[in-house]
Symmetry: C2
Subunit: 277 residues, 2 copies
Amino acid sequence: MTITELVGEIKKKKSFLCVGLDVDLTKTPSHLLNTEDPIFEFNKQIIDATHHLAVAYKPNTAFYEAYGIKGWQSLDKTINYINQNYPEIFTIADAKRGDIGNTSTMYAKAFFEDLNFDSVTVAPYMGSDSVEPFLAFKDKFTIMLALTSNKGGLDFQGKDLINNKPLYKEVIKTSLTWNNSENLMFVVGATKAEYFKGIREIAPNSFLLVPGVGAQGGSLEGVCEFGLNKENIGLLINSSRGIIYASKGEDFANAAQIEAQKLQAQMAKILADNNIA
Amino acid sequence: MTITELVGEIKKKKSFLCVGLDVDLTKTPSHLLNTEDPIFEFNKQIIDATHHLAVAYKPNTAFYEAYGIKGWQSLDKTINYINQNYPEIFTIADAKRGDIGNTSTMYAKAFFEDLNFDSVTVAPYMGSDSVEPFLAFKDKFTIMLALTSNKGGLDFQGKDLINNKPLYKEVIKTSLTWNNSENLMFVVGATKAEYFKGIREIAPNSFLLVPGVGAQGGSLEGVCEFGLNKENIGLLINSSRGIIYASKGEDFANAAQIEAQKLQAQMAKILADNNIA
């Protein structure tokens, strides 16, 4: 998928919602547990119920790895289902990978070629040659951790460097000089909307994947105030638990649709207020 | 496994060698390609030929993920083979994982419980709550990236903080204050032996997993001069390509044994010179 296509979908659906498919079988409806592949069955129903309200889906690979080989089969079926039925959807493998050059190439092939995801999340700690192998894939996107919304996020990301800039800003700035950096996006947590102001000064046009709205307490309006780019929107707002676990009953997919609809309506208003779509 | 058991094995074998099982089917002997599971068959023969010379094996998970579900089956068979036949071996899942708290717990369970590895490598970028879920497992070890030996390793790890300390030193120092930090080890590349001096000032007793000796140019003697701890040794020196790809012929396992033997002999001499074993 290209950025132009992604932006086109956002404008068409009036939504920049990403649904996180973090499936924990202790939280899913019990009636699915008797099916052959409960994780895939859950995902399939969530996707069918929300695909017109979301532009992206993001399975976190940890939730699949935790179920071993069966989990990988569920992930494989999920990405194939999306690609076959909703090819307009932007898919994100939330894998947070990163290794030395030739090893990163192996990961990139696994996610971009074998599983055919549009994008994958990566960690920056090992530097340029751990990320550039991902960036080398045309029309695929590498979403690098910059500022995360978890409790320990600032432990290192927030440390000031000798130039008085926090590490996460140095990470963003440096990575934009790497080969094929036009294929970079960044993970930026929604904990403090003000952070987006400083990030937009360094990366005015980059797409930002934003977790932490909703369950983790971030504000959609706040993020958009400082993070929205009027040309290409530049934001993908992720919600996982707030949507997929809206109900634990047989109505779970419908309940997910209602929650996704609420976020989509807020996004449509924000886009309209900014004369975007 | 406990540290005391690991140190006991090192003294018994007079070796602190870790063999990296990074299996790339384009580099393995062609006669194995006709077997049912060439990756496992390769690993099995390498392990049988070197287990008395090494104290640890380290499969890099990228090489298995790259082959999809079949790759995960090969990894599963490999770790089971080691655990059943050579339970005295310390096993390392080189996965470089790290995510928000509840997600890191999923990864920890996958590697420590389902696959039953003794240890797993993790990335520090997301801070305390991305690593502590791994540290919570008793008699399991979490090997955190500190200073890596790849080309881009210093891009961020080498950046000086406002206190004039490079990031990798801050990462080591801070992480030693986390809960259950007695279960921490660190990845420190062998590129410059002098780095080990500064690291030993911060982490005098921690085990360091050291890639980059051999193929990547690091010197075993140099690393030991500054990195060896006379009480518990505190080093695991990894070699991957130099051992497992010593020959591409039918004699590959024997060739691997010869290379492992060379490193073990050097290690035995270093231990003797330091009056350790």
